[in-house]
C-alpha cells in the first residue's frame, strides 16, 4: 500500500514539499511506484519503469540536497506511450511496433527530464492515438477509475490519452504527458475528472512523438489542477529546430498568469455548441460555468461560430488522410513487427493486416480513399477549405472576446463496449474539441461537476493562439469556483 498522504498532493504541493525537504524524491517516487502497481487492474500503464524512476529520483535528491533544484525535480510522471523514450519500449499501443526501443528521446520528454522530472512508465492509449475511449489499444482497454454508483460495469477513460488520464486521476502519477489530435487530452481529462491542456499548435515540439495526423497533433499535459498544467506546460514548451512546425516564440511563466483576476475579460459562449441530443446536465453545467465567470467579473458574450457543424466531418477527412501517409512507414522492413513472406507485397499486406487494429485500418483506408485521384478535390481539398473557414470563425470571434467557454464532451464517461458497434457515435465525442485542433488555438478542459450518474463533467476554455496565459487564468478561476473535490471510486492509496 502506498503512502496516501504523498499521493494526495498536487504537483505544485509536491514540488514545494520536495523543496522544503519534507520528503525525498525517492520517497515520493517509491510511493508512486507502489501506486502504479496498485492500479494495475485499470491497465493504465503499458510499461512501468520503476527502477528508472528510482534512479531519476535519486539524481533529483542529490540536486535538491545541493540546493540546485530544477523546476520539476523529483516529480513522478506518466508518459503517453506515443512519446519515444530512449531505450524504453515505445509501442503507440500497436502490435506493429513490437519490440521497438527508440535510440532517441522525444524533445518534450527530454525537456521534462532536463527539468528533473521522473518517469514512472509509459501510459496506455488508443492505438496510434486513434480513438475516444482507449478501447483500441493492442494492450487492452484502459478502465476509468470512476464508476457509476451501484453499477459495476467498467467505464472508458476517454481517449486517446486514456492511460495518462486514468493514471493521474487514480493518483498513480502526479501528471502525465498526452497528445491531442481531436480532443485526446481534453476528453479523457473530462471523463476522468482532471485537467487537460492542449496548447497552441507549435508550442510543444512534435519531434519524437509518433505521428498520427501531423497538422493536428498537439503534445500537452494532463494534471490534477490548472496550476499543475501551467507548471507542466512551461517545462514542455519551447522552440525546437528539429520540428519545422515548432513556433519560435518565447515561453512565458504560465504559473504567474494565475492571478485569479478575470475582471473585464469577455467570455464567448458559442450558440452552435448546443448540439442535438446533448444531455440537459451538460447544458446546465455549461450555464453554471458562465455564471461562475460572470460572478468573478468576466463578461459573457454570446457569439457565433457558424462553421462548427463542419468541423467534425472536416476533421475525419484531414486526420485519416495524414494518418494514411504517416503510417506507411510501418511496413515490416526496418523495425517492429514483420510477418515473413515470400513476396514483397505479401510482406506489406500480412504485416500491416496483423499489426494494425480495426480502427487504425479503418482510418488508413478512409485516408487513402480521400487522397485518391478523383476524390482529392471533393474530400481532402474541400476539408482544407472548411478548415480555413473554421479558422476564420475563430479569428472573428476573438476580435470580440478573450476566450470561449464550451462543454468539453457531449457526455460523461460511458461503459466499455457501449459505443463499440458505431464508429460514428464514437467520433461524435470529439465534436467540441476538434475545432481547436483544426485551428491550432489553445484549449483547456477543467472538471466542474458531476453528472446524474455521479461521473465527472468538464468545461473547456478556448483561447487565442499563443495566449495560453488567458486560458489558464480563466481555467484557474473556473476551478476555484467549481471546487470540484470528488475522487474516483478507485484511487491508489485510497479505499476500494
Amino acid at each position: 500500500m502506498s503512502d496516501p498522504s504523498l499521493l494526495a498532493l498536487t504537483l505544485a504541493e509536491a514540488r514545494d514539499g520536495l523543496a522544503r525537504r519534507s520528503f525525498s524524491a525517492r520517497e515520493l517516487t517509491a510511493a508512486y511506484n507502489g501506486a502504479v502497481s496498485e492500479i494495475e487492474p485499470l491497465n493504465a500503464y503499458i510499461t512501468p519503469t520503476p527502477e528508472q524512476a528510482l534512479a531519476m529520483a535519486d539524481a533529483a535528491d542529490q540536486r535538491l540536497a545541493r540546493g540546485e533544484a530544477l523546476p520539476l525535480d523529483g516529480i513522478p510522471l506518466a508518459v503517453k506511450d506515443l512519446y519515444c523514450t530512449k531505450g524504453v519500449l515505445t509501442t503507440a499501443a500497436s502490435h506493429i511496433l513490437d519490440g521497438f526501443r527508440p535510440t532517441y528521446e522525444s524533445t518534450v520528454t527530454d525537456k521534462l527530464w532536463q527539468s528533473g522530472a521522473v518517469m514512472l512508465g509509459k501510459a496506455n492509449l488508443d492505438e496510434f492515438a486513434m480513438g475516444s475511449s482507449n478501447t483500441t489499444s493492442w494492450y487492452g482497454p484502459v478502465e476509468n477509475p470512476w464508476r457509476r454508483p451501484g453499477d459495476n460495469r467498467p467505464l472508458v477513460p476517454g481517449g486517446s490519452s486514456g492511460g495518462s488520464a486514468a493514471a493521474v486521476a487514480a493518483r498513480a502519477a502526479l501528471a502525465a504527458t498526452g497528445t491531442d489530435t481531436g480532443g485526446s487530452i481534453r476528453q479523457p481529462a473530462s471523463f476522468c475528472g482532471i485537467v487537460g491542456l492542449k496548447p497552441t499548435y507549435g508550442r510543444c515540439s512534435r519531434w519524437g512523438v509518433v505521428a498520427y495526423a501531423s497538422s493536428l497533433d498537439h503534445p500537452g499535459p494532463l494534471t490534477r489542477t490548472v496550476r499543475d498544467a501551467a507548471i507542466m506546460l512551461k517545462a514542455m514548451s519551447g522552440h525546437d529546430p528539429k520540428d519545422s512546425t515548432s513556433a519560435p516564440v518565447a515561453v512565458p511563466d504560465f504559473e504567474a498568469a494565475l492571478t485569479g483576476d478575470i475582471r473585464g475579460l469577455r467570455i464567448g459562449v458559442p450558440k452552435e455548441y448546443r448540439v442535438d441530443g446533448m444531455p440537459a446536465e451538460i447544458e446546465e453545467v455549461w450555464q453554471q460555468g458562465v455564471e461562475w465567470l460572470r460572478a468573478a467579473g468576466a463578461e459573457p458574450v454570446e457569439i457565433g461560430l457558424p462553421m462548427t457543424k463542419y468541423a467534425l466531418p472536416a476533421y475525419y477527412i484531414i486526420a485519416p488522410a495524414e494518418a494514411s501517409s504517416n503510417l506507411a512507414r510501418y511496413d515490416g522492413v526496418r523495425f517492429g513487427l514483420r510477418v515473413e513472406s515470400e513476396t514483397l507485397d505479401d510482406l506489406y499486406e500480412l504485416t500491416r493486416a496483423a499489426g494494425f487494429g480495426a480502427e487504425v485500418r479503418r482510418r488508413v483506408l478512409i485516408g487513402t480513399y480521400v487522397l485518391s485521384a478523383g476524390y482529392y478535390d471533393a474530400y481532402y481539398l474541400k476539408a482544407q477549405r472548411v478548415r480555413t473557414l473554421i479558422t476564420r470563425d475563430f479569428v472573428t470571434a476573438f476580435e470580440r472576446v478573450d476566450c470561449i467557454l464550451t462543454p468539453t464532451a457531449p457526455s460523461a464517461a460511458f461503459a466499455i463496449g457501449e459505443k463499440a458497434e458505431d464508429p460514428i457515435a464514437m467520433y461524435l465525442n470529439d465534436v467540441f474539441t476538434v475545432p481547436a485542433n483544426l485551428t491550432g488555438v489553445p484549449a483547456i478542459a477543467v472538471p466542474v461537476g458531476l453528472s446524474g450518474d455521479a461521473l465527472p463533467l468538464g468545461l473547456q476554455i478556448i483561447g487565442r493562439a499563443f495566449d495560453e496565459e488567458t486560458v489558464l487564468r480563466v481555467g484557474d478561476v473556473l476551478e476555484s469556483a467549481a471546487q470540484f473535490r470528488c475522487l474516483p471510486s478507485f484511487v491508489a492509496g485510497g479505499p476500494r
Binding site: 512519446y83 519515444c84 515505445t90 503507440a92 511496433l97 521497438f100 527508440p102 535510440t103 532517441y104 522525444s106 512534435r206 519531434w207 519524437g208 512523438v209 509518433v210 505521428a211 495526423a213 501531423s214 497538422s215 529546430p241 528539429k242 520540428d243 519545422s244 512546425t245 488522410a321 495524414e322 494514411s324 501517409s325 506507411a328 512507414r329 511496413d331 522492413v333 526496418r334 523495425f335 514483397l344 506489406y348 487513402t368 487522397l371 485518391s372 485521384a373 482529392y376 481532402y380
Partner: protein, 487 residues
C-alpha cells in the same frame, strides 16, 4: 526527322533530368551524402523513417535550386510547397517521397543550345523542383533476398523538366551536355552520370510534321547521354513502325536495355501508381525573401553563353573555338590562365590541339592535366622570346606531359635552347654545304627542291636547336648570294 516506309516523321522529346544537388548534407535530415560510402552508413533516423522523426529543410539545397533556376533564366517562386508522393517500396522508408508537385520552387525558364550548323536553338524549361532521392535496392546480393542501402535515401535532387521542344536524339544529347555544363558552372550538381548524380527520364512521341503530338512513352532512369540518345533512336523507330503498320501507341513507362539496345515495357498507364499527392503537413510552405533572390542573381557566376560571347569579343576567337573552350568550366578557366597576357589564338590552339590530344591519350580531364596552365603559359613565353622554336616547343611539351616538369628546367636539362647565335649557325651551314658540294651544285643548277634537304641537314647538325628563321636567312644568303662558293 526520321524517314519511315510511308514518309517523314518528327520525333518529339521532353526530358526530365534528376540532378543530385551538390551538398554535404541531405535535403531534410542532415545526414552526410558522400558517394561510395559503406552501405547504410550515411543514414539518420529521419532517412530511415523511424517513428516520430521529422524533416527540416536544408537551406543550402534551396539555395542551390534557386541558383540553378536563375541560371536557366527561370521564374523563381517566392512561395513553394513540399508535397508527399505516396507509394510503398523498401528503398523508400517513409512510404512517401517529399517532392514538389503543384507549386515548385522554380517555374518556366529556358536553355540555349549551340547547334552543329552554328545556329542557336532555345529549349523551354517547364519547371525545376526539389525532391528527395530514394535508397537503393540490391537484388543481386542473395539468391532470394533483396538488400536495401539507404545512403542515397533523402539526398536532394533537382528535377528539371523540359518542354517537349527537342526533335532528335542528337538534340537531346546537346541539351543534356549544355544543361550539365550549366550545372557544373554553378557547382549545383557535379553532373557525374556514372555515379548517378545526373539521371534522365525521356518522354518520346512521334508525329507527321505539322500534326498534333502523338501518344508518348516515358523511358525511365537513363544514366548516360549515349543511352539517352540510343533509347530515343530506338523508341522513335519502334513507334513509327507500329503506326505505319496500322497500330496505335499505348501510353507506357518503358525501360532501356543497354545490352540489347532496345526499350521494353515497365508498366502501362492502367498500372500507373496513384501517388495521392498532398502537402506535407510536417513542412510549412517554403518562403523566399525577394532580396535574397536578388543577391543570388547578382552573385551568379559567368555562365557558358556569356563566357562564349566574351571569348569571341575579347579574345577574337571564332565562335566554334569559343564554344569548345567554354563547354567545361575548368577548360575555360585553364584557357584564360594560359591566354593572360599572351596571344589568345595561339593559347587556344595549344589548349585545343596539343593539350587536348595529350589529355585524350592519358584519358584524364583537364583538372588532372600533368601540364598546368602556368606551365603551358611559360612554354608559350619561351616561344615568344625566341628561346624555343615551334618544333622544339612541341618536344618540350611532350616532355612536360611525361614528367610534369617546368618548360624552363626541361630546356636547361636537355640543352634544348634554340641556337640564335648566327656564327654557330653559319658554321653549321658551312659544314653541311661543304659536305654536300655536289648537291650545292645541283641546287644552283636549278634543283630548288634540294633547299629542304639542306635545312634538314643543318637542323640535324644542330640537334634541331637552330633558330629556323636564322637558318633560312643565312642559308639563302650562302646558296644564292655567294655563287663563288665558300670563302
Amino acid at each position: 526527322m526520321m524517314e519511315g516506309r510511308t514518309g517523314w516523321w518528327e520525333t518529339v522529346i521532353g526530358l526530365e533530368v534528376h540532378a543530385q544537388v551538390v551538398s554535404k548534407a541531405k535535403l531534410f535530415s542532415g545526414a552526410a551524402t558522400q558517394f561510395g560510402a559503406e552501405p547504410n552508413t550515411q543514414v539518420s533516423p529521419v532517412d530511415a523513417a523511424f517513428p516520430g522523426m521529422l524533416p527540416v529543410i536544408n537551406r543550402f539545397c534551396v539555395e542551390q535550386a534557386v541558383k540553378t533556376g536563375l541560371a536557366l533564366d527561370a521564374e523563381i517562386r517566392l512561395e513553394s510547397v513540399f508535397d508527399r508522393k505516396n507509394y510503398f517500396y523498401p528503398d523508400l522508408p517513409p512510404g512517401y517521397q517529399i517532392s514538389q508537385y503543384q507549386q515548385p520552387v522554380v517555374g518556366r525558364g529556358k536553355v540555349a543550345l549551340d547547334m552543329p550548323d552554328g545556329t542557336t536553338r532555345e529549349i523551354g524549361i517547364t519547371r525545376l523542383h526539389l525532391e528527395q532521392d530514394a535508397g537503393k535496392s540490391l537484388h543481386d546480393q542473395h539468391p532470394i533476398l533483396s538488400y536495401v542501402d539507404l545512403n542515397r535515401a533523402g539526398i536532394a535532387l533537382m528535377e528539371i523538366v523540359s518542354e517537349p521542344d527537342l526533335r532528335s536524339a542528337e538534340e537531346a544529347g546537346i541539351y543534356l551536355r549544355k544543361l550539365r555544363s550549366i550545372l557544373r558552372y554553378l557547382g549545383t550538381c557535379d553532373g557525374n552520370m556514372e555515379e548517378g548524380s545526373l539521371r534522365c527520364d525521356c518522354n518520346v512521341s512521334v508525329r507527321r510534321p505539322g500534326e498534333p503530338y502523338g501518344t508518348r512513352c516515358e523511358i525511365k532512369n537513363l544514366n548516360s547521354i549515349r543511352h539517352v540518345m540510343q533509347a530515343i533512336e530506338y523508341e522513335a523507330r519502334r513507334q513509327i513502325d507500329i503506326i505505319e503498320e496500322g497500330g496505335t501507341i499505348a501510353q507506357q513507362t518503358r525501360l532501356f536495355d543497354a545490352g540489347r539496345n532496345i526499350t521494353r515495357p515497365m508498366r502501362s498507364k492502367e498500372e500507373a501508381h496513384d501517388y495521392r499527392y498532398f502537402p506535407d503537413p510536417d513542412l510549412s510552405p517554403l518562403v523566399l525573401d525577394p532580396e535574397w533572390v536578388t543577391r543570388m542573381r547578382v552573385q551568379l557566376p559567368e555562365l557558358p553563353d556569356t563566357k562564349k560571347a566574351r571569348f569571341v569579343s575579347a579574345y577574337g576567337l571564332s565562335p566554334d573555338d569559343a564554344a569548345v573552350l567554354v563547354a567545361e568550366k575548368e577548360t575555360a578557366l585553364y584557357f584564360e590562365r594560359v591566354a593572360a597576357g599572351r596571344d589568345p589564338k595561339a593559347a587556344a590552339n595549344w589548349v585545343m590541339g596539343d593539350l587536348f590530344g595529350a589529355l585524350n591519350r592519358l584519358g584524364v580531364g583537364i583538372e588532372q592535366s600533368p601540364v598546368s596552365a602556368e606551365q603551358l603559359g611559360s612554354l608559350m613565353d619561351l616561344i615568344a622570346n625566341g628561346t624555343l622554336s615551334g618544333r622544339l616547343a612541341k618536344e618540350v611539351f611532350a616532355e612536360m606531359v611525361a614528367t610534369g616538369a617546368d618548360p624552363g628546367s626541361i630546356v636547361e636539362a636537355k640543352g634544348l635552347r634554340q641556337v640564335t647565335d648566327s656564327g654557330a649557325i653559319e658554321a653549321a651551314i658551312d659544314t653541311v654545304l661543304a659536305a654536300h658540294a655536289d648537291k650545292v651544285a645541283e641546287y644552283r643548277a636549278g634543283r630548288d627542291k634540294l633547299y629542304g634537304f639542306f635545312v634538314g641537314q643543318i637542323m640535324r647538325a644542330t640537334q634541331g636547336k637552330a633558330n629556323p628563321a636564322l637558318v633560312n636567312e643565312l642559308l639563302r644568303e650562302k646558296l644564292t648570294g655567294e655563287s663563288g662558293g665558300a670563302r
